[in-house]
């Protein structure tokens, strides 16, 4: 029996703040419709071009929101269920960049594999819309739905290569394990809702800072399950087991998106749930994230060393990078979140470029991913090999690349938050994974190509993507100031200007 039926007052929707997401969704629907109406021709350019321009339009729509968020603080949209602050805008643009790079890589790939059609691009745009929606989710239910929009499209993308058995297997594994993680996350949401009486993250923060729970078992169980569910999406150990299989089996351009776009959205959700909403329960979740970060760093780096398949090697390396990003979360300070935002922005270019090289070297069939297939790449395709060298050095954290600074800032935040041992483990894991990258570099430059080895063809789209990625990787490494300033402003705009709880969102560490 419901107590009383009251008229439902619907919240006002500010569409201008939702415009970037709506553009992505609209672009996807339009592309699907046009793709169905127009006659199918082979070798069409417009699918990829349309996707790139949709992503550019979405990035342009983020632009005015940046200034609004910077000057007036976070925009609360739809009864505070969605929130546009600097971090949303910055990472929203990063996701746009990931979509553009993926679309450029996908064009040549789909042509080579004879899979041309609008469907992969439609799914990519839909998934990116979900990802962007997730960046601003300020309600656990919105977070869940955005995560599903993001994930379900990627499940299909993983299996888009219908004639390749490995692609189907990757899709099935990703789907089953991803759905399991989603269910666990949802159960966690239900328990947190039961403990706090709300699903709104601001509401949860306010409830926890003004109430002392006598029995917080329900809350802690729920928080643990949310950590598990989101940890799966960002491939943190011990929820990482799917990543190597799915990365190896999925089409290489799709992996570029998985390692960039999906990770960005997952970490944004971790920041909102843990660093902001559960800031009063820091002492409870920080040790858990500490352990998860250590495990992720060590599993990722140690297992990457013994891989002979370059895509698997990159998969384990991306796990170890997730560990570095978790170090930024574990600090639970505004410096940690800034470092994380810098890491995500630069890593997107590096990892998309890396899997771009894997796309090119993979040849028709997408199967040439063994270390032996990279033998003598320095002679066969000097420019591609040089690009890969830059990406590998950046991932290893060599100075003058963006990867070095990304790791440096994250470790700095960890030291400021007095997590010395965690910083030490992170540095150690960086050294271990450098060995794995070195193996690839040695194969490319140290060995002569086989006699029957042919040069590689680089499609125009992939060429643009690689040039952009190399430029971003070196550019952010040499001139990091614009991006660090942006990250600083972005995180500063996250804190509510409300006077009654100053600095509640970000207690500074140290």
């Amino acid at each position: 029996m419901l107590t009383q039926v009251t008229p439902v007052d619907t919240p006002a929707v500010e569409y201008s703040a939702l415009l970037p997401v709506l553009l992505m969704l609209g672009g996807a629907v339009l592309l699907m419709t046009l793709g169905a109406l127009l006659p199918r021709r082979r070798h069409t350019w417009w699918h990829a071009t349309f996707t790139v321009f949709t992503a550019l339009a979405s990035a342009a729509a983020w632009w005015p929101l940046w200034f609004r968020a910077r000057d007036d603080g976070a925009l609360r949209v739809v009864a505070d269920a969605y929130r546009v602050d600097g971090l949303t805008v910055l990472l929203g643009m990063v996701i746009c960049a990931g979509v553009i790079l993926t679309a450029l890589l996908a064009h040549g790939y789909l042509r080579r594999e004879r899979l041309e059609g609008p469907e992969p691009y439609v799914l990519l745009l839909l998934s990116a819309a979900g990802g962007q929606f997730m960046l601003g989710a300020n309600d656990l239910l919105v977070l869940f739905i955005a995560l599903e929009i993001l994930s379900i499209a990627v499940y299909v993308l993983a299996g888009i290569h219908v004639r390749r058995a490995r692609s189907g297997e990757a899709a099935f594994k990703y789907l089953i394990l991803g759905a399991l993680a989603s269910a666990v996350l949802l159960y966690g949401i239900a328990l947190v809702y039961g403990a706090t009486g709300t699903t709104n993250l601001t509401g949860i923060q306010a409830f926890l800072s003004s109430n002392l729970l006598t029995n917080n078992l329900l809350l802690l169980a729920g928080v643990a399950m949310i950590l598990g569910g989101l940890g799966f999406k960002v491939a943190a150990a011990p929820f990482h087991a799917w990543a190597p299989d799915v990365y190896e089996g999925s089409p290489s351009p799709v992996v570029a998106y998985m390692a960039s776009g999906v990770k960005v959205a997952g970490f944004a959700a971790l920041v909102r749930v843990f660093v902001v909403a559960l800031s009063t329960y820091r002492t409870d979740w920080q040790p858990v994230v500490y352990v998860v970060a250590v495990l992720t760093l060590l599993v990722g780096s140690i297992l990457s060393v013994q891989q002979t398949n370059v895509k698997r090697l990159l998969a384990y390396s991306s796990i170890s990078h997730a560990g570095f990003m978790l170090v930024g979360i574990q600090a639970a300070t505004s410096e940690g979140v800034q470092a994380l935002a810098f890491y995500l922005a630069t890593y997107t270019f590096t990892v998309a470029g890396s899997f771009g090289v894997a796309t090119i070297v993979g040849r028709r069939g997408d199967n040439a991913h063994q270390l032996s297939d990279y033998q003598g790449l320095g002679k066969r395709a000097p420019l591609v090999a040089f690009a890969f060298l830059v990406f590998l050095l950046a991932q290893a954290g060599v100075p003058f690349t963006s990867g070095f600074l990304a790791k440096f800032y994250v470790l700095g935040a960890a030291v400021d938050a007095r997590s010395f041992w965690l910083a030490l483990v992170a540095m150690l894991s960086s050294v271990i994974s450098a060995y794995a990258y070195l193996k690839v570099v040695l194969a490319m430059y140290g060995e002569d190509p086989d006699d029957d080895a042919t040069g590689v063809t680089v499609p125009v789209g992939a060429r643009i993507a690689l040039v952009v990625s190399v430029a971003a990787t070196l550019g952010f490494g040499l001139v990091p100031a614009p991006l660090t300033d942006t990250a600083h402003t972005a995180v500063a705009s996250m804190v509510d200007p409300a006077p009654e709880q100053p600095a509640m969102a970000f207690p500074t560490g140290g």
């Binding site: 419901l2 107590t3 239910l141 869940f144 739905i145 599903e148 379900i152 499940y155 299909v156 299996g159 219908v162 058995a165 490995r166 189907g168 297997e169 990757a170 899709a171 099935f172 594994k173 789907l175 089953i176 759905a179 399991l180 989603s182 269910a183 949802l186 159960y187 949401i189 239900a190 328990l191 809702y193 039961g194 009486g197 709300t198 699903t199 190597p244 299989d245 799915v246 190896e248 089996g249 891989q307 398949n309 698997r312």
Partner: protein
């Protein structure tokens, strides 16, 4: 005499936890892709039960609304999942999840 109201939400939460565990166990141990999907539905519906029980306990409608969202998401997930299963297993009728073992290492 013990009435349902006196017990509160606890029995429903316990039932939800049991169903969720049963679903998880089934998903991880069964090898038939369709049964795995049924287990997934069981897990999501266990969460739905918990949502409704907690909403009732809290006197708040949000938890009940959540159920509708979850049902929509579950339906979408199954549609996509069945599509993937059909596309994989069309060429290999009678295959189980154990037959998908190309990717390892």
């Amino acid at each position: 005499m013990i009435t349902a109201a006196a017990l509160g939400a606890m029995p429903y939460l316990v039932l939800g936890a049991l169903l969720f565990s049963a679903g998880t166990f089934g998903l991880l141990t069964r090898r038939n892709p369709l049964v795995m999907f049924m287990c997934l539905e069981l897990m999501l519906n266990a969460v739905n039960l918990s949502f409704v029980a907690l909403a009732r306990e809290l006197g708040d409608l949000r938890g009940q609304v959540a159920v509708f969202f979850v049902m929509v998401v579950a339906a979408a997930e199954v549609v996509v999942g069945l599509g993937i299963i059909v596309s994989i297993f069309r060429r290999r009728p009678g295959a189980t999840a154990d037959d998908l073992s190309l990717l390892k290492g």
